[in-house]
Point group: C2
Chain length 326, copies 2
């Protein structure tokens, strides 16, 4: 029987989800007083769940906005309650992940929310911020690519489809303390407590995606865990940023150097004709999916955990050749 | 590249989801003024979405409760607004799917909700009810097993994992008229209009489950469509009910004869010792998963579309043998 045919209440599936949780705990060194949940609906549903759970009446939450996903998180939170925005880099085109110490954060904030990596603008926080208020983070696009000090967070969530596995499962990691503060009378499917109480089996989860995600965790442990993933992400992204920085201005990085994403390398060419030519010729050489998001333009190389070092080598070589010929 | 690795915004995936919708429209003869959505979160999230969308302030909705799933739908709806329950068969142990004409329905109801098949108690409506109020139905466990007059419904929803494919995708079929009545300012992921506007690609859907579900639609069309599925469901369930009815009272059907489910055949034995013995001996002969839900006891044979006729023949034979020996 395939996992796709199994009951989620079978002992076989309970072992699958149990191993996935155990392996993720090992990878991220998740403390015992944190719960790991396998949910549905992606980060987009987490935007709503976090706000519904923790943005109580008369309270306000701080949202640090470093790109398109942070903006979406704000829009969903504003439906549920009051949101303050101590940082929004929109005017500059989203190029910076600010130091939290430099921000005018609300000491009374119900929580602070940020996006560790912005996929469209290629903006990433290099380390875990230090705050007094409860901290929530959307790690959808860089989870498992660097060590995380889980203790600094009240909650971490991530859709699976970038670094963890196929689409369909969303991981939420919540401190017991946060769980105790969840608002009352929520719709059951939006209530973290119900999912925690039922071991992520309140209703039928996306069993296949949980299974494959679990296999990815095992694969990553075998490769050397988070440290190996972090070394790979560093090596791959530095190769591409070196090609950008060594181009004498032919290629221009979109992001401030200390906020550069190790997952999405975003850069521009001198004009849109050259950009189109770059994308087409790269595609012809098997380097596909390089056109930047329409809101930024230029080139975006998405190099998540599963992307091979060789792919980045090939792209860096192509970049040099293309520049020489143009 | 596997479908699990594809971008949900690729033209390849757009073709996959487009074909799945087209085939489902053909199978269920879905009129052009109905939208087909592929969502996440199962029927459990639909319980909340239907109520949030259509149970406006000052309004009330009628919930016809014929088993455990209908009861869960009520509990989620009550969080959102006022619910009337014109029928709840709990006292009798959930054995009947009532004729809607016999019920005291609220002519002013925002909508009427029911569950076409209850998996735990094995209670199924034999045909589409006729009502004046907008009708919503949870068809999770018997969709694609009989022709449905979609025009009678404002909305139909179904988790995929019984008759359609692997867990992870939920189909919602809504009339354009219903979509126009959806309440304002909902969380984006709970807003049918946003999913409709974005062709079910507002955020990353469960791509793999949509792909496999689409293959099941194609398989079903090849087998002869809904009519073939309905003939199979009739043949399989009648075989088991005949074994129950022909046992002279050794086996007793849980459900009133005209409300018997063609998906979940529920019956009891004279005592719990014989029930345990039945389950164990059946298991030894390769007939597994027959223990009834703890709330009903006895035996439950779940014989969804993919279950073979031969399996029902084998169970009917086993039932006769077991009775003869006990």
């Amino acid at each position: 029987m395939s996992v796709m045919e199994m009951s989620h209440r079978s002992s076989e599936f309970e072992q699958i989800i149990g191993e996935a949780e155990r392996d993720l705990r090992e990878l991220l060194k998740i403390p015992n007083n944190y719960r790991v949940l396998f949910l549905q609906g992606g980060a987009s549903l987490q935007f709503t769940m976090v706000a519904k759970s923790f943005l109580g009446e008369g309270r306000s939450a701080d949202y640090v906005v470093t790109g398109a996903w942070g903006k979406k998180a704000v829009e969903s939170a504003q439906i549920e309650g009051k949101v303050r925005i101590p940082f929004d880099d929109k005017a500059a085109g989203y190029r910076t992940a600010p130091a939290f110490e430099s921000l005018d954060l609300d000491p009374q904030a119900a929580y602070i929310h940020f996006t560790s990596n912005e996929t469209i603008q290629g903006v990433e926080f290099a380390s875990d911020p230090d705050t007094d208020a409860p901290l929530f983070c959307d790690m959808s696009s860089d989870i498992l690519s660097r060590p995380v000090d889980v203790y600094r967070y009240s909650g971490i969530y991530a859709g699976s489809q970038k670094n963890m596995g196929p689409a369909g499962v969303t991981v939420a990691i919540l401190s017991d303390e946060a769980l105790e503060r969840v608002a009352g009378n929520l719709p059951p499917m939006l209530d973290y407590r119900i999912h925690a109480k039922n071991g992520s089996l309140y209703n039928t989860p996306c069993t296949w995606a949980i299974y494959v995600t679990g296999l990815v965790y095992k694969h990553l442990l075998k490769l050397g865990g988070i440290e190996a993933a972090a070394a790979g992400a560093k090596q791959k992204s530095e190769q591409l940023y070196a090609a950008v920085d060594g181009s004498g201005g032919f290629y221009k990085g979109h992001t401030e150097p200390d906020s550069r994403s190790r997952m999405n390398v975003v850069f521009t060419l001198p004009n849109s004709e050259l950009t189109s030519k770059f994308v087409a010729q790269a595609e012809a050489e098997g380097l596909s999916g390089l056109a930047g998001h329409r809101s930024v333009g230029g080139i975006r190389a998405s190099i998540y955990n599963a992307f091979p070092v060789k792919g980045c080598e090939a792209l860096a070589t192509f970049m040099k050749d293309f520049q020489a010929k143009n």
